[in-house]
């Protein structure tokens, strides 16, 4: 499939899924432009509301966070009625992260979101660190992920992007990226949190600076093997240098997640540094 048919690759700076609250919580830190033009991936939306997992959901470890939040979200209905219209009105380019327990759920989500005004694109969560625990469709094999992407693609307009968010597993990432791209993914997001465990053995995902070099290696491998597949780096991006490392490795953009929990202004600062658009306004020109 030609890239032109799959929608524009967003970026270069996006808010990663699950780290932007409902979007409203970012507004105080977004500067005078607010969320206008911000590429924002929502937290994963499921068909039915989910209250999320028990506490502690997020625990600090050296260099990062282990989390098992359990995808709390109000369900598609409520999201479409309240959160999405707010984000659209605020000017954000909304990429809805979708998660489902079955292929049918992914297809339903894609179909209904294709009709919702203001959805810029979708991100398909096909690399959650603990799918079984989160009650999600298991995508152990790349072809499972690809069939989910294909199911979403069938229901979503070809001119809008569908991103596939993969697990940053260097031994499988090239295969996964190839399969998802062939199934119609506009770009692959590399990647999700790394499968990890809390001290008591409970499964979770590790995120933050600790996984930056793991995610970077995955981007490097994908770019080397599949130079035509657009990648978006995600993992430990917290400043201009860490973002540039992904861009220099061939990524078309980066997503910022855990860094927002540490400093909610991170995306605003990175956009100011990396966005090629918007020349300085006259007041700011010395």
């Amino acid at each position: 499939m030609s890239a032109a048919l799959l929608g524009r690759v967003p970026g270069p700076v996006m808010v990663a899924a699950g780290c932007g609250g409902t979007g409203r919580e970012l507004l105080p830190y977004a500067g005078p432009a607010g969320l206008d033009g911000l590429d924002l991936v929502t937290r994963s939306i499921t068909l039915d509301a989910r209250s999320g997992g028990p506490g502690p959901r997020v625990v600090e470890v050296p260099g990062g966070l282990v989390n098992a939040v359990g995808l709390p979200n109000p369900g598609l209905e409520h999201f479409l009625a309240t959160e999405l219209p707010w984000l659209v009105r605020a000017g954000a380019r909304v990429f809805v992260s979708v998660a489902g327990a079955t292929m049918g759920e992914y297809a339903d989500l894609a179909r209904r979101l294709s009709r919702a005004p203001g959805v810029a694109g979708l991100e398909v969560n096909v690399g959650a660190p603990d799918e079984a625990g989160a009650g999600l469709f298991e995508v152990r094999e790349p072809y499972h992920a690809a069939s989910v992407i294909a199911a979403v693609r069938r229901e979503f307009p070809a001119d809008r992007p569908v991103l596939a968010k993969l697990r940053p597993d260097v031994s499988r990432i090239v295969e996964g990226a190839r399969a998802c791209h062939e199934a119609g993914a506009t770009a692959v997001v590399v990647g999700n949190a790394v499968p990890a465990a809390f001290r008591d053995g409970r499964p979770g995902g590790l995120s933050g600076p600790a996984i930056a070099s793991v995610a970077l290696r995955c981007v490097v491998e994908v770019h080397r093997a599949l130079p035509d597949v657009p990648t978006i780096g995600c993992g430990g991006v917290h400043d201009v240098a860490s973002a540039r490392a992904f861009l220099d490795a061939g990524a078309r953009g980066v997503q910022v997640g855990t860094a927002l929990l540490h400093d909610p202004t991170t995306v605003t600062r990175l956009r100011a540094a990396l966005l090629p658009v918007d020349p300085p306004t006259p007041e700011e020109t010395p």
């Binding site: 699950g18 919580e25 600090e60 939040v69």
Partner: protein, 280 residues
Amino acid sequence: MPEERGTPAGPVHVEGEVVATKRVGAYRHLTLSAPGIPERFRAGGFVAVTVAGHVARRALWIHRVRASSAFGPTLDVVVEVRGSGTAWLAAQPVGTRIAVTGPLGRPFALPKDAVSCLLVGEGYAAAPLFPLAERLRERGCAVSLVVSAPDEAHLLSALEARRSARSVTVLTADGSVGQRGGVADHVDDLVRRSDADVVYAAGPAAVLRSAAGAAERAGAWSQVAVECPTPCGTGLCHGCPLPVVGEDGVDRVVRACTEGPVVRGDRVRWDALIPPRDPA
């Protein structure tokens, strides 16, 4: 509660600086210059601060604000050392720069009329009750304050409290000062004696539960400041689940940092609330 006109709203993220540090009993009181936060502060609000070398932030109750000082607007926080992050904070000398976000969370709701209020706090987490007492007194409320702790060293600011409260009751588990016992032992009696219309509580979950229960038995309203570990403090991570019953009677899990930390005591599903753990 309506927004006060002309008051800037919403949190800000600023580079603060330690301008004073003082050990008081078992705690470390830090004064931070934090432009923008004191003027937005309402009692019950908190700040999230960055700790060097740590990804998660530390949430600290605001104990006092000064709109102006030699250092500009400042705020006071009370730190109890419970792990490496709070140990770092407590060790910082004057001049250390610290990123501060706040004021965060939903503050205490203030009564419209000059009613009788009982304020119940335990340990360092009693901090938000002191600015609350001042605001209530300004509104003409009769304020009774209960300060509780395991021992004298962990009693927060009981002496200062006498300025804004009509009566102050001190409870220590070991009986070293004031009455012996904990909040659960005395709260029903205290609610009755103060003839409280509203009970405000701040402290560990068990203390909040006792206070909320006593309020309900006495037919009073309660407002509790729930302390959960809040990895970000800003509502972004959904990492601080607080089980509540919504106004529609439906069970929900909300974010302690955003829909809380102050909620009505009768709305908390106490059995489902995980006891707060020590921060790392």
